[in-house]
Subunit: 402 residues, 2 copies
């Protein structure tokens, strides 16, 4: 009888909510699948260098967590996150110039969940979000479910062109200002101090929260230490952050630093979506930092990625045609390439894959189309030798096809 | 200048999405805060016994994961979850009678995220969900954001009264049938085999997915082995499961077992909300099971909780007034108490706290009101001595107040 019943089951008839059906699968995921083929040198992902993960130190941190907290490190815990880690993050934020208390911090499962939380709390269908143009693709994935629309502000070498923001706010009344202010994904560009101040002034005058998606800030290669939007704007800014680029992404530990009075809303959303983030990994990160392992590790990452960025820029000087432009990021994991205007990075990608090198083309990063002649390159994941060889292959491809 | 600006920042003016604003904080959370006061014997939570967490075996599993998978166990991983764990879960499901492949499984951050995912995929504002009456409070928390309404079907000792379901479906056209079929939270009741078959037949004939929230199934104290809804209904059923009650909740590793063709929708939602679940803990659980540690551990848990249930039922026979009824669950973590009809478990709670004993009163578990004379007791977390003393205190309270 049951087999007969089972033949009648047709999940295709189950009614899917329309805004889920219309969500697109990430283009990057598709490219990542292709670029993981053997022999392909991939600049497509956003993966940190796996050889730098502090495996032994994290094992030590786990042993210490079990020894000190016993079953508490495996039990249900607070939706906002364990207090010692939140206290530690608050103290660190203060040291970086942003007055912060434990009640300003909520632990999330990576910065991606921070995006999900702000979207859910602020966005009604059809609301506008003001972003950079281009902007982070994963943020749009989170925002799209909530049927956000985008006001995308052009960028130059100082970041978002803030002088265009007020007029756009008047016209579109966005609910959020979303920025990746430091070593932006995808362009590698950092917002200038002058622009930061101007953006905060505008946001405050219009009562619009700034969401600063800030995973790369600590991976700074050179220049004056950055003054974050959070340090400048304080309660005007919700900062999203993560240990994914500085410790290990597989632990899925990120955090939000926002005004205390908005935290109960964030907490409710966190609670109904997954109760709380992984207790064990929260304790592990806390013990890892407490043991003094984190600061020297960041220095290691900075030196490694700085070196790889230099290798990539050097190889570009050697192998790219003169008419190809690129950013020269002072930190982070990505740089941005602009081909001559008539070229299509999307159309070139299959040829690149044939030549065993991969990138992400620009269009998916533009909320309202554009970027056909652009592409994003990651310099943290490949080895220096692979970077030289990959850029050489790309240079050949560009010379022959643009 | 910035301080002056900062004085003007008023996050109270930030517009919160109405469906987030209207979400209620969990009543249970408030009760848990009170019941964590020193000296209070708490039957209020749903916490597994912390002294049973297999800490040493999990440390061993972490060491093995690092040794075997190196940086892979700390890196970004697939949104659906790591393949070895999904394969292992599929094999185990087959052993339990449900034909399952790796592509039927998606790893979630606890079963709570499974609830969030099914709600997002299936529920449009105002849609009905058919549930037991009472039902799991955390499920309603996840569903309420999506503005679900509820058709709640009465229960008896065989679970949901399935003979009432077809008429309710005709009238309310629910999008989902949600059940906690085994050792239900909150009542401890298990659906009979006959009712299971009948429910599947109805669900199939109306093309409505059954969501079987099944965290307690493996913690069975006695009786014939359970045939799960998934084993009976196959593609008609989406099963939600978790290691929270059998290994440790702080790891936040759960899973969904559903028809292959619905999985791309679940994957999209998982990806845009938090990319993927904790990679390290997925490998740890996989290695823990592979090392043969899981099955004997479940036997330990069963013996421990069976003993505590017996202690609690015995103490009730000794100390509760005769007119107080209770369920006698054959597994799980909870039992359910019904006071005489005119009594209010909510009004009695402050007196219970004064007597240093805590429970959750019944009303929050009823989607459309009811249950004023009921309360839920957890028997997994307190020690046997605490259970006897706590039930004694409750018995005194009931005798004096009802």
């Amino acid at each position: 009888m049951l087999v007969e019943q089972n033949n009648k089951v047709d999940p295709a008839k189950w009614p899917i909510a329309p805004h889920v059906l219309s969500l697109e699968t990430s283009v990057i995921n598709e490219i990542l699948k292709i670029s993981s083929r053997p022999g392909v040198i991939s600049f497509a992902g956003g993966l940190p260098a796996p050889d730098l993960f502090p495996l032994a130190d994290l094992q030590e941190a786990m042993d210490k967590s079990v020894e000190k907290y016993h079953s508490d490190c495996m039990q249900y815990s607070l939706s906002r996150g364990i207090i010692p880690l939140r206290q530690q993050l608050a103290t660190r934020a203060v040291e970086q110039g942003a007055p912060t208390k434990v009640d300003n911090i909520i632990i999330t499962s990576g910065a991606q969940q921070g995006l999900e939380v702000v979207a859910r709390v602020f966005i009604d269908p059809g609301d506008y979000i003001l972003t950079e143009n281009p902007t982070y693709l994963g943020a749009m994935q989170a925002f799209n479910y909530y049927q956000a629309r985008y006001v995308a502000i052009e960028m130059d070498e100082e970041g978002m062109m803030v002088d265009q923001v007020a007029a756009k706010i008047e016209k579109y009344k966005p609910k959020l200002i979303y920025t990746v202010s430091n070593f932006q994904n995808p362009t590698g560009i950092t917002m200038s101090l002058k622009r930061r101040r101007a953006l905060i002034e505008i946001a405050v005058s219009y009562d619009i929260p700034i969401v600063d998606d800030n995973p790369y800030c600590q991976i700074q290669f050179e220049g004056e230490p950055i003054t974050t939007l959070k340090a400048l704007g304080r309660d005007a800014v919700i900062e999203l952050n993560t240990f994914s680029k500085t410790v290990a992404p597989g632990l899925r530990i990120g955090w939000m630093n926002g005004p205390e009075r908005i935290m109960p809303q964030f907490e409710k959303v966190k609670q109904c979506t997954d109760l709380h983030s992984n207790t064990l990994c929260q304790y592990m990160i806390y013990e890892y930092i407490k043991a003094g392992r984190f600061e020297p590790h960041i220095e290691t990452i900075k030196a490694n990625y700085r070196h790889k960025r230099n290798i990539m820029l050097g190889a570009m000087r050697d192998f790219f045609p003169d008419e190809v432009r690129r950013t020269e990021p002072k930190g982070g994991l990505f740089l941005w390439v602009e081909l001559p205007r008539q070229a299509s990075a999307k159309n070139l990608l299959p040829k690149a894959i044939e030549s065993k090198v991969a990138y992400v083309y620009g269009e998916p990063f533009f909320p309202n189309q554009g970027g056909e002649n652009c592409l994003r390159l990651n310099f943290s994941n490949a080895s220096p030798e692979e970077i030289v060889e990959g850029i050489k292959r790309l240079g050949k491809l560009f010379k022959e096809n643009i």
